[in-house]
């Protein structure tokens, strides 16, 4: 089985304020349907790695392959399309558009993609919201929801275009332990039921322990990639 996401000798340098290597020869491979956590101390390069992998940051050396495609040769616009169609994001902050309804927020990336009709997109968005127990909130303004609900809406939005992989940068960082557990349960379910590939940065070792595999970073290097049994 070939990897859905693979890196070859990924290096990342920051030149400002001083020359600093944030990622050092990172070689990882992620199988489809894997639920992976990235851990490491603060400043070890977890976010940096996630931004590079998710094509938001294009200033790196080495290669990244998503579903076999070399991302390092793509133009900015091609990468935008790839993010739209194949990558889902969940950040620490929910980044919902506050004036739009929950349903609109979830539909937005699909409207941008334009693969389905508006009616179809609506139906799919409601499905995703249903999976996350949020159908009754669909017509509320996003800004009216609780933090835990907002984060689940963000997950629904990440799922709307059936991405190859979902990246989460401390998606539970702003949540209490109950809501954090709920989010991880959802990820777990997505992986089990829909074979969704998920890669999440976390500081919480209890949560990391619930993933299939943990990648540990130290000073920009992968120091361990342990399978959890």
């Amino acid at each position: 089985m070939s990897a859905i996401l693979e890196t070859k000798n990924l290096d990342k340098f920051f030149r400002d304020p001083v020359d600093f290597q944030a990622l050092k020869k990172v070689n990882i491979a992620v199988e489809r349907g894997e639920f992976i956590s990235i851990v490491g101390s603060s400043g070890s390069g977890k976010s940096t790695l996630l931004y590079v992998l998710s094509t938001l940051d294009t200033d790196y050396e080495g290669h990244i392959y998503l579903a076999g495609e070399d991302l390092s040769v793509k133009t900015k616009n091609e990468l935008a399309e790839i993010r739209n169609e194949k990558i889902g994001f969940v950040f620490q902050f929910h980044y919902l558009l506050p004036e739009f309804t929950v349903l609109d927020n979830v539909m937005l990336p699909a409207l941008k993609l334009g693969k389905y009709s508006d009616a179809e997109i609506r139906k799919r968005a409601l499905e995703k919201l249903g999976m996350l127990g949020l159908v009754d909130q669909a017509d509320k303004k996003a800004s009216r929801l609780s933090g835990g609900q907002q984060q689940r809406v963000a997950i629904a939005r990440a799922l709307i275009n059936d991405p190859d992989i979902i990246f989460g940068d401390e998606p539970t960082g702003n949540l209490d332990s109950k809501n954090a557990q709920l989010v991880f349960d959802i990820f777990r379910e997505l992986k089990e039921k829909y074979n969704q590939t998920i890669m999440v940065v976390t500081h919480d070792m209890n949560l990391a322990a619930q993933t299939d595999r943990t990648i540990r970073l130290h000073d920009g290097e992968v120091v361990a990639s342990e399978l959890i049994v």
Partner: protein, 421 residues
């Protein structure tokens, strides 16, 4: 999918609605700019059009005359010009002293047969002193064949009293300019006395009052029959000083004047050169007006710039997530350009309405302006083309004002935003 249903458009509208007050202020800025445009430039352009129309109606398309003021090299220059000495000849007599057009009648026949010519009117101009009772005013008499003159200058249209044909049918009629008549206290039917510089006087009877609308003319000019003018100047019946020509196509005035001048050896002046001073005043006027309007629109532009920068600053997280979820730089740019254009389109439409209303209101106030030209009401340019032009101008200003913020928004680095949250 139509643009109005696209996420970009919906996002743009949401942004504007989330800042209603500032949006309205920015819109009113555009409204103000366009309204001033419509009012100010409309007034100027209306005035200039009217002035040009009146000029075209009251001055010949081409005037042929004998220019006695022409400089000529002195005899001394002709025989002693070694480049080392200055030749000074003072008070040189003009070569031609009499502005007579020789063979004027024949010239007239030739010119009136030219296919581009609609009509020719012979003319004798002279200074004169008008006397009525104790009033005594100097001015100019125009000796004309009134039918021909009327064909060219629509004299009849501008008669406010009396009958212009009486100039032909009575032996000693005179038609006074409105201002001149007023100064003399003359009314139709009054007898008056006209004296030429040659000292010859004629008893004339006022048969009409004429108002061309060009104040200077109306204050000083009187029409008399060309024969009477010849009597005043003590010249024979073939004597004329000018030929005034009306063309079928006024735009041919310049080339034809050059042609006539070469062909006949007399000065031929087209109406535009004759009024060159005024046209250059118009040019400066237009420049100043459009500068003022441009500065108003620049200020309106700042309003738009300002509100967009505010929105962008506030919506940085939105921009970051839109970019993360696949919106391209150009999509982001479209969102903010749309915002500026919505402000421009709506503010501009309102500006057109306000400008039109201003034109209507001010255009219906009786002004009785007496300057350059006399008019009762201000004349505005209210042609659709002018409104379209003003609107386009406004939209252009809006688009320019929106472009810089929109570009800035499109260049926002999503990672910078996400890291700082």
């Amino acid at each position: 999918m139509s643009f109005f249903k696209s996420p970009s458009f919906r996002i743009a509208m949401t942004h504007l609605l989330s800042k209603k007050r500032q949006t309205i202020v920015a819109m009113l800025g555009v409204t103000f700019g366009i309204a001033i445009f419509i009012f100010q430039a409309g007034l100027m352009s209306g005035f200039q059009t009217m002035f040009i129309e009146q000029t075209v109606n009251t001055s010949a398309n081409i005037r042929i005359y004998n220019d006695v003021q022409g400089e000529r090299p002195s005899l001394l220059d002709r025989f002693h010009d070694d480049g080392k000495t200055w030749n000074v000849v003072r008070n040189q007599k003009p070569e031609v002293e009499d502005p007579k057009l020789k063979n004027g009648k024949q010239l007239m026949d030739i010119i009136s047969r030219h296919p581009d010519v609609a009509g020719v009117s012979p003319f004798i101009g002279s200074q004169a002193i008008f006397k009525l009772g104790i009033a005594q005013i100097s001015g100019r008499v125009s000796g004309v064949e009134i039918e021909k003159e009327n064909a060219i200058f629509s004299v009849e249209k501008y008669m406010i009293e009396g009958d212009l044909r009486k100039l032909e049918t009575t032996p000693n009629g005179i038609i006074l300019g409105e201002g001149l008549a007023m100064k003399l206290g003359a009314k139709v039917g009054d007898n008056m006395f006209v004296v030429s510089p040659k000292g010859i006087g004629l008893d004339l009877k006022v048969v009409g009052i004429h108002k061309s609308g060009i104040v200077e003319l109306d204050n000083s000019r009187a029409y008399i029959n060309i024969r009477n003018a010849q009597k005043l100047l003590n010249v024979d019946g073939s004597y004329i000083t000018d030929l005034n020509i009306k063309l079928k196509d006024i735009n041919k005035a310049k080339p034809l004047s050059v042609y006539f001048q070469e062909k006949f050896g007399y000065t031929a002046q087209d109406w535009e050169s004759a009024n060159a001073n005024i046209f250059s005043v118009f040019k400066i006027q237009n420049m100043v007006t459009y500068l003022i309007i441009a500065s108003i629109l620049i200020v309106s532009g700042f309003g738009i710039f300002n509100i967009l920068m505010m929105i962008i600053y506030e919506k940085l997280p939105d921009i970051a997530i839109l970019k993360a979820t696949g919106f391209k730089d150009k999509d982001i740019r479209t969102i903010f350009l749309t915002e500026s254009l919505v402000i421009g389109i709506l503010g501009g439409l309102l500006g057109l309405a306000v400008g039109y209303a201003l034109q209507q209101i001010v255009g219906h106030i009786k002004m009785d302006v007496r300057g350059f030209v006399a008019m009762e009401y201000l004349q505005f340019n209210s042609s659709p083309a002018f409104f379209v032009f003003a609107y386009m101008f406004g939209l252009l200003a809006t688009a320019l004002a929106g472009y810089i913020p929109a570009r800035k928004a499109s260049k926002v680095d999503a990672i910078d935003i996400i890291r700082s949250k």
